[in-house]
């Protein structure tokens, strides 16, 4: 089948990308501005013989997809701020029990019910730290439909590779916006399939004993290996333990498998960075306005560049340091009170890092960015 050109919503792109990646199970609960994902899943999944569940809340939605992942399926749930808060419990479970799954949060204004239809990027810190206990997490985002497609497929690949939940943090603007997308031909994007154990029937299978490369082959519920899965600290059989040595090893495994691989996992896009005196760092919908400003200023000869983050966590401290080394001004553009500003300040001399933001439920425009840049550059209001 050749590439297919479509003009659709970002939320629908997520659905098509997930199906491309091999998704065949979805559970969700309606919430603005992510509802279209649930709606399209309800239509699309039975067409391919997959399963769709509308659950009683977001808590049960994430639980259901974890259950389905254990039978060997690629799974996803989608929600927005308040629903994402409810999912923190299940998210922690998936981290602890190492269950591959993808969770989409199409962000809206918060806290609480906040601004259901207003754009925001206020859940960036929650995506990193929301669930209790020490943990690492992969959080990715995108600013346009073509990238949403690729990042969504990548999320499934990372979930399978590292046996971990992966968060896709989109926002109301890209979720609801319609634009052109070329749906890639089958086989064009690489897919990572479930790594299943080669241990034979009757041989002791250790579901939580990593191989030399750090990966943990799985065994589907219903197949020959019967084992225990728990959210308690557990040993290599998956049985609860409070043995300090075993717990220590488990904690380091859970964090290191992600945080030690930042350079492998991390994705970003660069625009005009080579000679940039001012670098904008942005992501998601904000990066669209940032790119617009960079391109229009470049035409006037201004040395402006854009570093668009696609992996928000684990945070690419080293990459930021490297790319922004020679810039005089580094300006974070985001729709929150500075949630990516903080780690950027940890990466660079803080006095050259600035913030341009909006938190009023209105999309940050190129004009907003231009006006603030004048102040940062000392050109007055």
């Amino acid at each position: 089948m050749p590439d297919l050109v479509k003009f659709i919503q970002g939320n629908q792109v997520v659905v098509e990308a997930a199906l491309y990646a091999g998704l065949d199970f979805y559970a969700g609960y309606p919430i603005t501005p992510s509802t279209e994902i649930t709606e399209h899943m309800a239509t699309r999944l039975p067409q391919i013989g997959g399963k769709f569940l509308q659950m009683e809340d977001e808590i049960s939605s994430i639980c259901a997809i974890i259950g389905a992942s254990l039978t060997g399926h690629k799974v996803l749930t989608a929600t927005s701020g308040p629903g994402y808060s409810l999912m923190q419990e299940g998210l922690g479970y998936a981290i602890m029990a190492e269950i591959p799954c993808v969770i989409v949060n199409v962000q809206r204004g918060g806290p609480s019910t906040g601004l259901p239809t207003g754009p925001s990027q206020g859940d960036v810190s929650q995506a990193r730290h929301g669930t209790h206990g020490d943990h690492a997490i992969i959080v990715m985002t995108a600013s346009n439909h073509q990238d949403i497609f690729e990042i969504t497929v990548e999320a499934f690949n990372l979930a399978e590779t590292y046996r971990t939940p992966v968060i896709l943090l989109f926002d109301e603007v890209v979720g609801h916006m319609r634009e052109k997308i070329i749906l890639p031909e089958k086989g064009k994007l690489p897919l990572v399939e479930r790594l299943r154990t080669s241990v034979k029937k009757g041989v002791d299978y250790h579901p939580y004993l990593p191989r030399e490369d750090g990966r943990l082959p799985m065994s589907d519920f219903g197949s020959e290996h019967r084992y225990n899965v728990t959210g308690l600290a557990h040993d290599m059989w998956g049985f609860p333990t409070s043995n300090p040595g075993v717990v220590h090893g488990l904690m380091h495994h859970l964090v290191d498998k992600i945080n030690n691989r930042v350079y492998t996992i991390e994705k970003h896009k660069e625009y005009y960075l080579e000679d940039a005196r001012t670098i904008l760092i942005s992501y998601g919908a904000s990066a669209r306005s940032a790119l617009h400003v960079v391109e229009s200023r470049r035409r006037r000869g201004e040395r402006l560049g854009l570093l668009e983050l696609q992996t928000l966590w684990p945070f690419p401290f080293g990459m930021i340091r490297e790319k922004c080394e020679n810039a005089r001004y580094v300006v974070v553009v985001e729709m929150n009170m500075g949630q990516i500003l903080e780690p950027v300040k940890m990466s660079l001399p803080p006095d050259k890092v600035f913030l341009i933001n909006r938190v009023d439920g209105v999309f940050i425009t190129p004009t907003d960015i231009r006006n603030m840049l004048r102040i940062i550059h000392g050109k007055g209001v």
Partner: protein, 265 residues
């Protein structure tokens, strides 16, 4: 019954207190599985959090020890994604009906094929004796030191009203009935609920002067009766045992197959 065929000896001894009723439930649950001649690899046991929930670790099935109250939600995902599997979901009373109450009624409403077993000891045991939604008015607990003013759910009435297509009740005194009811529940196609009254001598009894496990089981013997028995007519206070609901209703996974058929037309 060679019980060793069904348990993970490596993980014993179990954590339950001496005199706890949960071991009787485990024993009779395994008997049911054996008598039905089920393949262990076809069974997924999903549990939540609490004393009851630890049951899943001890059995040689596919076992999923999940979050407090969420067992049925996880089980729904397992069943829906792989309908050939047989789901057994043992839960405690607080687990199933306080924190898990919403999942309980919705799983019943969907009539998804699984066996929910409410191991009702009327108390939160693992956290040390707080009242649960099944403790009942007038009982004592660490969080009801003066007397409990919370009324209890009637599990049978609740399950029935929520749409469960098989609803039964028994006690740990009536061990053979546990086996019989679990067998029938597993064979029933749809959402089945069995409430099993299970003694907690450590907390519920100590707080409420019910004696040791023997006195508690005698209480079950003396205060329960078969559904519709003459004894019940004479003494309406007696708790009925047996099958309250057994009806043929469309099962959820079967219904979804029809959705797939319609979508692919």
């Amino acid at each position: 019954m060679p019980v060793k065929d069904y348990i993970r000896e490596r993980f014993f001894p179990h954590i339950w207190c001496s005199g706890c009723g949960h071991g009787i439930i485990l024993n009779n649950m395994l008997r049911a599985v054996e008598e039905l001649d089920m393949d262990k690899s076809d069974i997924v046991m999903v549990s939540g959090i609490g004393c009851s929930a630890r049951i899943s670790g001890y059995v040689d099935f596919h076992t999923l020890h999940t979050l407090h109250g969420r067992a049925l939600a996880f089980a729904t995902g397992v069943k829906m994604s792989q309908p050939k599997l047989k789901l057994m979901v043992p839960m405690g009373d607080g687990d199933a009906l306080a924190i898990g109450g919403n999942h309980f009624i919705h799983a019943a409403r969907r009539n998804i094929d699984m066996t929910a077993i409410v191991m009702n000891n009327r108390i939160y045991g693992m956290t040390g004796g707080q009242f649960s939604p099944l403790s009942g008015y007038g009982t004592l607990a660490t969080t009801a030191p003066y007397s409990n003013i919370d009324h209890n759910f009637d599990v049978v009435a609740l399950a029935q009203a929520a749409g469960a297509s098989f609803v039964a009740r028994t006690t740990t005194f009536h061990a053979r009935q546990i086996t019989d009811l679990i067998k029938q529940a597993i064979e029933h196609r749809g959402f089945s609920v069995i409430e099993i009254l299970s003694q907690c001598p450590t907390y519920f009894s100590r707080k409420n002067n019910m004696g040791g496990q023997i006195e508690m089981m005698e209480w079950y013997k003396n205060n329960t009766t078969r559904i519709g028995s003459k004894a019940k007519q004479e003494n309406p206070q007696l708790i009925e045992r047996g099958i309250f609901v057994q009806r043929d209703m469309p099962e959820y996974c079967d219904e979804y197959d029809k959705v797939i058929e319609a979508a692919q037309k």
